[in-house]
Symmetry: C2
Subunit: 113 residues, 2 copies
Amino acid sequence: MKFAINESLLKELKYDSKGLIPAIVQDADKNDILMMAWMDEEALRRTLNVGEMVFWSRSRKEYWHKGDTSGNVMEVVEWFVDCDADVLLFKVHMHGPQVACHTGARSCFFRKG
Amino acid sequence: MKFAINESLLKELKYDSKGLIPAIVQDADKNDILMMAWMDEEALRRTLNVGEMVFWSRSRKEYWHKGDTSGNVMEVVEWFVDCDADVLLFKVHMHGPQVACHTGARSCFFRKG
């Protein structure tokens, strides 16, 4: 699903000193947390324009359309801004192999503390 | 619930340039995301020692035992480290008024994008 961009909401967002904001990704049906990654404003605009998760890769220093190599495209169902406008939450449907993590796990949060 | 500290796991954690790591808080029963805040190593140790969420407040520059003023203590049920060891997830039971957000909302993620 593509999203109309609410420019006034986007202007409110507070990015960190590197121009990034955390994006939490939650499965829209099962409600488990799949991953957290980072977006700059352009990654957020790309995400909303295409309706699929696009991050900024801090290690590769490039935009990262989730699923391009893995097939694990994440379709955005709805998204939220937190009270302080410095964290984003995306509820998604995973396409492909239902694997969010590069290790092959469904969720990146598989290591119990 | 208090947690035994797994020192080798704690050593693996990757903090940012300010010594902080994001901590996502999820309701253990309803599975909604309540908030995201930040911890340094000491805040994490305090959280595990007391079994309740303790953050580092970036604005007040002090440790912040969630619920001290609001009554909204968050009891940790289980916690997870992500694959890259740079994000934490805590599943909690909220005590008191069931309000995680300083605005009075249950969750900080109440603004739909």
